[in-house]
Amino acid sequence: MSNSRSDLSPDRKKIVTDPLRPSDHADSAPAADEGRDDITSPRLGPVEWLRWGWRQLTSMRTALVLLLLLAIAAVPGSLVPQRGADPNGVTQYFTDNPDLAPVLDKLSLFDVYSSPWFSAIYILLFVSLIGCVLPRTKHHWKALRAQPPRTPARLTRLDDHRDVTVSVPGGQDASAVAASAVETAAAQLRKSGYRVARYDGRGAFSVSAERGYLRETGNLVFHIALVGVLIAVGVGGGFTYTGQRVLVEGQAFTNSLLDYSSFNPGRFVNTDTLAPYSMTLDRFDVSYVPPGQPGSGQAGDFAANVTTLTPDGQRQDGQVRVNHPLDVQGDRVYLLGNGYAPTVTIRNAEGVEVFHDSVAFLPQDANMTSLGVIKVADGMPEQLGLIGFFYPTMDTLTSGALTSTYGDLEYPVLTLRVYAGDLGIDDGTPRSVYTLDPTGMTQIAGGDSGTPALRLMPGETQELPNGLGTITFENEAPAGTTGYAGSVKRFASLSIHRDVAGPWVLGFATLATLGLLAALFVPRRRMWVKATPHGDTVRVEYAGLARGEDPTLAAALDQVVERHRPTLPAPTDQSPPSRPASDDQSRPDTGKVD
């Protein structure tokens, strides 16, 4: 391992070109009193305590412990359902574990990632990170403009050290040979990307060279970019909104708060100034794997074909597909789901139309058995509520229950249970359009009512029970269509997002990755070439020192030697430059470790 520590450093003085590291970094020199417990510490005043605390917080060990704590703290969120990712799971958890759930809730275990303890860990981690990075940045800024450090007096003390003694050709001055050897070495090192400085004196000529400043730059960029990611998420989230909207084929919506079925704005979103546009769902496409083939019945190639209309009258066709959201005026439209929306017309006993709409039925299984609710508030003697099942390809199970066996419209059937009474919507209580609470209503068709549930195919009309009127399941297929293709409209569930944070997060993440690459793979190293004239010979020494992980230092030093030697006069003996024994570690099986 050619990795070195600063306690081997040739110069015990603070070297400005060294990265400034926390005192417990493996590469910084241990404090003089470290490991001695016989020291009686002086009494600390509040300022000293603060400084001590700050140094603790910004130490490597604290950062490490906080990192590990962060990893451990993140785990519970994968074991317990989270409100953010899986709200239904949380509800289910409360139902399944009525005793345990409130306790876990008190510990914020259903909101781990916004919990006080999780936040405390990452905020401390980032404070520690900033506290470490800021002084390092300042220091590195200086180092970037500093000279490589003075050549150590005894290069032989370094692990990676080579030397060769050459004889001065007749008629030449040993000092001149030494000077020119160092000059050549300096030029060669400069050419290979080293920053060089000449240090001559005390009867020797030397060049000190350093490279790999990018390593520390990358390190700092990586950490600062992580802070950038956090800020982008925190601030950008405030300007982000998401809204959901279900659109039946032929329907349109305008991008305003009123037209969304649900809307989650960030803290700083002004809901009055949403990008003005409207969007119509023209057609929803889906394909099914035909029966008899592997994966039969599997649906795919979902595509919502939409037309958007901007205030200046520009019409544009677009498609929203899974993995391919549509960009509209800075918003992105995602396809969340789809299903059938049977069109139903209800007339009262006088033949007056009291209900006509396409109602979105929510799919319950892979074959699109769908559940929906129709509410008739006016025009009937009593309010009506209908709970319907829609089967795109109906079949009867041996139990007599109905089911759907295929997602496409092969044999579409709509069944409805009918309730009469008070829908409970007149007093302004908000009720979901997808559920019906039949408490207090009388069932007049289906179940135990004595009247069978209504059962309709597209285009069919039936009498409602008790002579209330008629109900029609409209066939929406264009005239002349054979079969049931297109007989029932589809709906698409769209999610509209404005994501301000995303591009920033991606930018900072990319920056962090680039920084990481530099910080981990650019070697920071020093090289010295020193020539000392002795009578009619010149001793040329080469030494390298790694600043941080650098497994290829020895090879790099060999290269420096190889490139420099041809420019020297012949050595005194023909032996190759000597290598210290420590390089010759016994590694019988992996000779290529270095």
């Binding site: 970094h25 994968s78 592997p294 497994p551 570690q585 016994s586 992996t590």
Partner: protein, 330 residues
């Protein structure tokens, strides 16, 4: 593949994959025998060897008593590990069957486990050309057998068209890079385990030298690099793996943003990918923290890989249940 029966191709693929598993089992056996024979070799070599005490620079008191066969001896300048060679040859053969089985499954997307283990073996074979890590062969082949065999038993399903959300180039990149990272973490894990064993052995050697404590039994560890070299190599694999894992996170987030409209949502798979990233970030920090270098950081590398394996199984279960797009469930 027009004109061919996908079912027939699937059957051939399954046959190829099981053949690959069988060959990997043979390779595993060969590697295990190799490790056992290395301790034999070590004992035999004892007589020819002048045990050298070598104090590594900076470490202070680490003794490396690895056998250095006498340079003059023609017998075994470098020991030839016959069984390890056989193991490697078998792995290469198994890899070919594995590759064929994967290709016949269709695009490399069908089985994440199939492609993932394929890449693990590929990385091992590529690394072998630069570093002699055959002493990790038993680990890698064992891993390949368990993951590939387990996945084929547990997750093998008929070839079906890909569900819509999985048709994403970012997902391909995501899975590909994650598999590469897993392979590198696996190698780092193996090296860290060896490092811990080697550290223990070296400590015993020091003890034996300074007192009359019994010297540790000679075993295969003697034929391995010293603990420092093992640690340095483990670190080098782990940092490359860490870079790949960072790409994994980013590519996965881009895909999630396209598919679900949010790049990060703390679902199970995302949480574990994050946990692993943080664990290896911790490992890299530990390597640079005084008092944590060596044994402690090696444990972090081991814990990190345990999390990777956990995530691997979780992810498979997760993808198995991904039918959300066949219908709406709001």
């Amino acid at each position: 593949m027009p004109g061919t029966d996908p079912l027939l191709l699937d059957e051939i693929s399954l046959l190829l994959v099981w053949t690959a598993v069988a060959i990997y089992v043979l390779a595993f056996i060969a590697y295990a025998i190799d490790l056992a024979r290395r301790s034999d070799l070590a004992i035999k070599a004892k007589d020819e060897v002048v045990a050298r005490e070598l104090v590594t620079a900076g470490g202070g008191g680490v003794i490396d008593a690895s056998p250095r066969p006498a340079a003059s001896g023609t017998s075994s300048a470098t020991p030839r590990y016959l069984w390890a060679r056989m193991g490697t040859a078998l792995v290469a053969l198994g890899f070919l069957f594995h590759l064929a089985g994967d290709v016949l499954r269709g695009v490399a997307m069908y089985e994440f486990a199939l492609t993932g283990t394929l890449l693990v073996v590929a990385v091992y074979l590529v690394v072998l050309t630069r570093f002699d890590l055959r002493f990790l062969g038993a680990l890698i082949t064992g891993l390949a057998v368990v993951l590939l065999g387990g996945a084929t038993l547990a997750f093998h399903v008929e070839v079906v068209p890909l569900a819509d959300p999985l048709k994403s180039v970012w997902l391909v990149i995501h899975v590909f890079v994650a598999s590469l990272a897993t392979a590198l973490f696996a190698l780092a894990f193996g090296l860290s385990v060896m490092q811990l064993l080697q550290t223990r052995r070296e400590r015993k050697l020091v003890l034996a030298a300074s007192s009359d404590a019994p010297a540790p039994r000679r075993n295969f560890l003697q034929t391995l690099p010293n603990a420092d070299a093992l640690e340095s190599l483990a670190y080098r694999f782990a940092i490359v793996g860490f870079i790949f894992w960072t790409f994994t996170l980013i590519a996965g987030s881009i895909w999630a943003n396209d598919a679900w409209g949010r790049f990060w949502g703390f679902d199970t798979k995302e949480v574990w990918t994050f946990v692993i990233w943080v664990l290896y970030a911790g490992y890299i920090h530990a390597r640079a923290t005084r008092g944590w270098r060596g044994t402690r950081s090696a444990w972090l590398s081991i814990i990190g890989f345990a999390a990777v394996l956990f995530n691997f199984t979780i992810v498979n279960v997760f993808f198995k249940g991904l039918h959300a797009y066949s219908g709406l469930t709001t």
